[in-house]
């Protein structure tokens, strides 16, 4: 028998001898208690920050469009005010 065979034979014997090892019967329940049961329930309040984060790009786009619109229309308001002697005018929207 070579050294190689000897090592393989010993590994095989120890593999067989340890093949029936299993965790204790309550192990699965223990794991579930440490994971699923410990995790907080998903609530509306808990989900709110996540939903807010997802809406952030849309909100940023709306804000940018709003600023652009305001900047564009500011000139029209100034023109209308300039023609009025008492700085009061009726604006048409």
């Amino acid at each position: 028998m070579t050294d190689h065979d000897d090592i393989d034979a010993r590994l095989e014997r120890l593999t067989r001898a340890t093949a029936r090892i299993t965790p204790r019967a309550d192990f699965s329940a223990r794991v579930m208690r440490a994971t699923v049961d410990r995790a907080p329930e998903v609530s509306w309040w808990g989900e709110l920050p996540k939903a807010g984060f997802r809406l952030l790009p849309v909100a940023a786009l709306v804000a940018a469009l709003g600023i652009t619109w305001a900047a564009t229309n500011a000139g029209a308001v100034d023109d209308a005010l300039a023609g009025s002697p008492d700085d009061v005018t009726d604006l048409e929207w």
Binding site: D3, H4, D6, I7, D8, R10, L11, R13, L14, T15, A17, T18, A19, R20, I21, T22, P23, R24, F27, S28, R30, V31, M32, A34, T35, V36, A39, V42
Partner: protein, 174 residues
């Protein structure tokens, strides 16, 4: 898609009961692997439980990228956890005799074999020991081991050759 992959997807979608499927399908295998590396079952259960806590968090919070199979990924977490535990645990021979919940002739034989296996392969450097355990004892392929250890298949083969060489040399020395 395998049962485990389906369960992982269901869990990611909020079905917590799917985690039970994952635990039931993998716990025996993972505890056995960790016990074979550590030499006792009680510590292996702690390591695997901690691995499941990490896995649950990753699966529910989107931390699992799905690049590898769920089982391979779990093996990786357990192997890393076991290596960490081995470094932390400086057990005495007396401590190792304590095995709560184990009795009967078959269990006693298993405990002796566990200690022999961990002690024998424990003579090897960590990376060689892990590779030999995964190949010769767990029966995984080089490709699977490479995925678990995040190295190349060539590195796995090289470590295997070195591990066997070192065991032969140690045997000759004794």
């Amino acid at each position: 898609m395998s049962n485990l992959e389906q369960a992982a997807q269901r869990l990611a979608e909020g079905d917590r009961s799917a985690f039970q499927v994952i635990v039931d399908a993998t716990s025996a295998k993972l505890v056995r692997l960790s016990a074979r590396m550590l030499g006792n079952v009680a510590d292996a259960e702690d390591v695997v439980q901690e691995a499941y806590v990490k896995a649950y968090r990753a699966l529910t919070e989107g931390g699992f990228d799905g690049r590898s199979r769920v089982e391979t990924w779990l093996y990786r977490i357990v192997v890393n956890g076991t290596i960490d535990a081995k470094r932390k645990l400086k057990r005495t021979a007396t401590d190792e005799l304590v095995e709560a919940g184990w009795d009967g002739a078959a269990s006693a034989e298993s405990i002796v074999a566990l200690r022999e296996l961990a002690g024998w392969l424990g003579e090897l450097p960590e990376e060689q020991q892990t590779v030999l355990m995964l190949r010769a004892v767990e029966g995984l392929s080089s490709a699977e081991i490479a995925q678990i250890l995040e190295c190349s298949e060539g590195a796995v083969e090289q470590r295997l050759v070195r591990a066997r060489t070192m065991l032969r040399e140690k045997r000759r020395d004794t």
